[in-house]
Amino acid sequence: MTAGQVVLILTLAVPAAGAVAVPLLPDRVARITGTGAAGLTLLASVLLYAGRGGTSLEPAAPVRPWHSVRGDWAPGLDLQFHIGVDGISYPLVVLTALLTLLCCGYLLGRPDGSRMLVALLLAAEVGIVGTFLALDLVLFFVFFEVVLLPMYAMIAIWGGPGRRAAARKFVLYTLLGSVLLLVGVFVVVAAAGTADIVALTGGGQLGRGTQLLGFTFFALAFAVKAPLWPLHTWLPDAHTEAPTVGSVILAGVLLKLGTYGLIRIGVGVTPEGAAWAATVLGTLAVAAIVVGALVCLAQTELKRLIAYSSVGHMGFVLLGIATGSAAGIQAALIGNIAHGVITGLLFFLAGAIKDRTGTGELAALGGLRETAPGLAGILGFAAIASLGLPGLAGFWGEVFAVVAAIQRGSPGWTVLGVVAAVGAALTAGYFLRLLRRVTHGPPAAVPVAPAGLARIELVAWAPLVGLTLVIGLLPVLVLGMAYGPVEALAVGVGG
């Protein structure tokens, strides 16, 4: 058991232990232990970087995990407890750990924060980190499902007025996605005999027919999770009703399960399927961008608007994946991280505004600049970052998704690239409209309770603001380690 493997297991074990321990402890102590557990997980996930055996720049074996742990769990089900981290999954794991820590910290400072919510956050974190680390298809599915109920409970118990219906729609829709994933997994496992992702990547053992069928199931499952346009209707409801912390985790990391899955399994395990469905996926992605932007222009509620903006941003990420080229997949990876950080921040802010003014309706808000200048400033920064201002994190994902689309050369793809660029302009449109409604203009009648920023809020948001700036200026941080694996994936798809 090398140190790396121990740390790898810790990243999963610590939140699991936390999730079990927290409900048993008294309220205050529980929340502190919960935050402690989240902190430890972040530390463990960061440590994973050490001793990773050098980032492989040249396209090495398709998936070369830095550390990996392998053990038999249920051979009868082809289920191996095989987890490992590599260039593609590492940034996402760190992002998850960071967001969960921030959420736990945020709850620590709030009067109405409940220890059960912290426990559910840690349980969800186990599921999400497990999914990112899983190198066995069936294990991927098991962790993919672990996330479901904690999120349901979060929305159904601590949500807004219409939470029960929204939570039920969320859980049923996502379950539909994950059962399709189960069928897809076993279509592949039945054909290939093994469920090990490292062995399966590159689609060597699978015939073309199986790859196409498998990819269809995978694409459907992951399209539900990372909302691809026609399958996205659960997202706005879930976001509007979820508590602040729930929205942050939902938008920040849960959507990435879909796109990460599409990259690791869709493009990795069934590359021929990915190549075959590229144009369909690309068109739907661009449709997501444009529809997301247009619907946001006509939105009247703050959180719903940010939810639809996620649909648009994930559209760019999915466009990147659809192109199948190395540039496209890298654009998707950095798009993932950037969206996670920025939208996480946006939802924190939306929550803060809702707590202060009691309403999310844009019509009722206004003139935040006068009443809460600090909050307005950060909201402005987050909105500008989200509309893809170059120099901030959001820009790289969007531009290089368009570059990858145009790089494909065929007229169809160029049209997609152009429409995506126009979509980006529309994004600017609705974000500035949001800013104008919320921050500028005369102060609205709605009383703003604590005008200043609570210390806990600053602590929760500072890392996100910093990260947006740093990733914007130095995208190599996120992409540096992913050159090798992405190159290998792209070769598979003939990108």
């Binding site: 729609k169 049923l172 829709y173 346009w229 026609p230 996205h232 209707t233 659960w234 529809v291 247009l294 619907v295 946001c296 222009l297 006509a298 939105q299 080229s325 190395a326 540039a327 496209g328 890298q330 654009a331 600049r369 006068e370 402005g380 500008i384 201002l389 170059p390 120099g391 820009f395 790289w396 531009v399 290089f400 368009v402 570059v403 990858a404 145009i406 790089q407 690239g417 152009v418 660029a421 126009v422 980006a424 302009a425 529309l426 600017a428 449109g429 500035l432 409209r433 800013l435 104008r436 500028h440 203009g441 005369p442 130095l474 995208p475 190599v476 992409l479 050159y483 792209a490």
Partner: protein, 628 residues
């Protein structure tokens, strides 16, 4: 490398560090940043003899690398110096102009951020880094226009400014990406080498050229996308001076200057440029004649002067264009700052509220006069030399495009002269229509105005020195001598007009005469009745010019309203159709469940019937199956 970094550091410090909220510290920081940038630019200008380039790889997407490249050459440095000068002047000026405003620290930081972004564009060695600077400038202009809390229409103008430029930027994005994708790298040097080396097909070049042109039109407020500039006057005056007169709007011209081979090799791009320039020139000038708000007059005059530069580029006189850019930066910034002083004194933007300020505000009067003189092109002042150079090269250029630019140029000279004089007379002469006791602005505001008056006056003479011309030459690789060098002869490739900027001889008289005609006409109309606005002479045309040819209305009807309607329609569709199907399936399953449940709400016999029927059917199916 250092050049953009200094103001960027100042900006970041100003914005983020709350302890610096104190006014004094922020002011010092702002001015220090601008001054440092200016000194650095001048130092480099003096020290540097040939273009130097450093770059460091930022990130690699697939095999497309993006590196943080900086390319410094003489033309870039000249523009950098201009930017430094104006930025410094504006920083100093705003200290007193915004003394009452509590948002000043953020304002100062945003101006430094803007200066950094502009310098980044000027020295950018890589297309993506250029794009970064380009967009950051856009966002800074958005933030600064919306700076004034009390002004109700400020946020609207800011959003409009950003969105219109953003529409242009979509074209810019695509142009940059097209070039980058086809040359395999985003470094400008590689791109230019590929262009001149003939690796890119003319079709791609034309497409890239036109797309970049869209971006430039957006940023430099050329014809289709110019509607945002007049509204941007809602921002504080120093901002109008810095962003909407000297730097940002000039960035578009500079980019065309920088990527000139792309435009010149793509066939059909330069004629389009020329047409756009001509139309904008006339449009801007005519609209200025009828505007009553002093800042809107200057804004429209900026639009038309920019059109001059674009026209010069269209005709191939890149050096003349750059020279006009420099002079225009100086005198337009001067005019805006002076106008700021006047507004500060009189308390209103409208010229109808001004008049007879000659005596109470002598300093402003004289600096405004130099500025207006330069604008019109009165001989000794800078404006004359640069405008004359453009007109000369336009007249010398081959092809109908050059002729069009020349004709439009001449007509604009007349109109410019007319509205400049009108502005001059209505503000400083006749009886004072404002109640407030006008007086000269405080020293902090006066000094920058005077400082800017000097280059407006003397910059023309610098052009006389011969060393000046080749500094302005387009930074094209040395071997590029002209059309002949390219194997496939490009049709109607405008031979690069001879770079001589200064040339005496009969030709100079033509624009002078036109200017005189303009001034005389305005003076005559004003002289008959000093109280009323000479614009009434325009008669029926006035409302048309006043409403700026209703372009704003067209844009609203053609673009804004349909997009909003489409958004509402898509939202309704998305919620009712897509969401409807999902909810529908849910409700459908439940009602189906109800149906089946009702079938079970019967008595015991039905259960037995089910058993026997089931057995019967299964048996039948099996026997028939077996029989097959």
């Amino acid at each position: 490398m250092l050049l953009p970094a200094v103001p960027f550091g100042a900006a970041l410090a100003g914005l983020l560090l709350p302890p610096l909220r104190a006014r004094a510290a922020a002011a010092v920081l702002g001015i220090a940043g601008a001054a440092a940038a200016l000194l650095l630019a001048c130092g480099l200008l003096v020290a540097l003899d040939q273009p130097s380039e450093q770059s460091r790889q930022l990130v690699r997407f697939g095999h497309l690398a993006v590196d943080f490249g900086v390319r410094v050459d003489s033309a870039a440095l000249l523009v950098a110096v201009a930017v430094g000068v104006v930025a410094l002047a504006v920083q100093v000026y705003s200290v007193s102009y915004l003394d009452g405003d509590e948002g000043y620290p953020a304002y100062a930081a945003q101006v430094s951020l803007f200066t950094a972004a502009m310098l980044l564009v000027v020295v950018a060695g890589d297309l993506i880094v250029l794009l970064v600077g380009w967009e950051v400038m856009g966002i800074c202009s958005y933030l600064l226009i919306a700076h004034d809390r009390r002004l109700p229409e400020a946020p609207g103008a800011a959003v409009k400014a950003f969105l219109v430029t953003r529409v242009g930027d979509v074209g810019f994005w695509l142009g940059v990406i097209l070039l980058g994708v086809h040359t395999g790298s985003f470094r400008i040097a590689d791109v230019l080498a590929a262009v001149t080396g003939g690796e890119l097909s003319t079709a791609t070049l034309t497409a890239a050229g036109l797309l970049l042109l869209a971006g430039v039109a957006g940023k430099s407020a050329q014809f289709p996308l110019h509607t945002w500039l007049p509204d941007a006057m809602a921002g504080p005056t120093p901002i109008s001076a810095l962003i909407h007169a000297a730097t940002m709007v000039a960035a578009g011209v500079y980019v065309v200057f920088r990527l000139y081979p792309v435009f010149s090799y793509g066939d059909g791009v330069l004629p389009v440029l020329a047409v756009v320039a001509a139309v904008t020139m006339l449009l801007g000038a005519l609209a200025a004649t009828a505007a009553d708000d002093i800042k809107r007059v200057l804004a429209w005059s900026t639009v038309s002067q920019l059109a001059y530069m674009v026209g010069a580029l269209a005709v191939g006189a890149t050096a003349a264009a750059l020279f006009h850019l420099l002079t225009h930066a100086a005198f337009k910034a001067l005019l805006f700052l002076a106008a700021g002083a006047v507004i500060h004194a009189v308390g209103s933007n409208l010229m109808s509220a001004m008049g007879g300020l000659r005596r109470p505000m002598p300093v402003t009067f004289w600096s405004m006069t130099i500025g207006l003189g330069a604008l019109v092109g009165v001989p000794p002042l800078a404006g004359f030399w640069s405008k004359d150079a453009i007109l000369h090269s336009a007249s010398g250029g081959a092809g109908w495009a050059a002729g069009l630019v020349f004709a439009a140029g001449l007509a604009t000279v007349v109109v410019t002269a007319w509205y400049a004089t009108r502005l001059w007379l209505r503000t400083f002469f006749g009886l004072s229509r404002s109640e407030a006791t006008a007086h000269d602005p405080p020293p902090l505001m006066a000094w920058p105005v005077v400082a800017l008056a000097v280059p407006s006056g003397l910059l023309g003479f610098v052009a006389l020195s011969d060393g000046f011309v080749d500094r302005l030459s387009t930074p094209v690789p040395a071997d590029w001598t002209g059309a002949a060098a390219r194997p496939d002869a490009l049709p109607a490739q405008p031979v690069l007009a001879d770079q001589a900027l200064v040339h005496a001889g009969g030709f100079v008289l033509l624009p002078l005469a036109a200017a005189a005609v303009g001034i005389a006409a305005a003076w005559l109309v004003w002289q008959r009745d000093p109280a009323t606005d000479p614009a009434r002479a325009l008669g029926r045309l006035r409302p048309v010019f006043e409403r700026e040819f209703y372009l704003d209305g067209f844009q609203d009807v053609l673009v804004v309203r349909p997009v909003r309607a489409l958004a509402r329609a898509v939202r309704r569709a998305d919620e009712s159709v897509v969401d409807g199907t999902v909810e529908g399936t849910g409700r459908g399953t439940v009602s189906l469940g109800g149906l089946v449940a009702r079938a079970h709400r019967a008595a015991l016999p039905r259960a037995v019937v089910a058993v026997l029927a089931g057995a019967l059917l299964a048996g039948l199916a099996a026997t028939l199956g077996a029989a097959l």
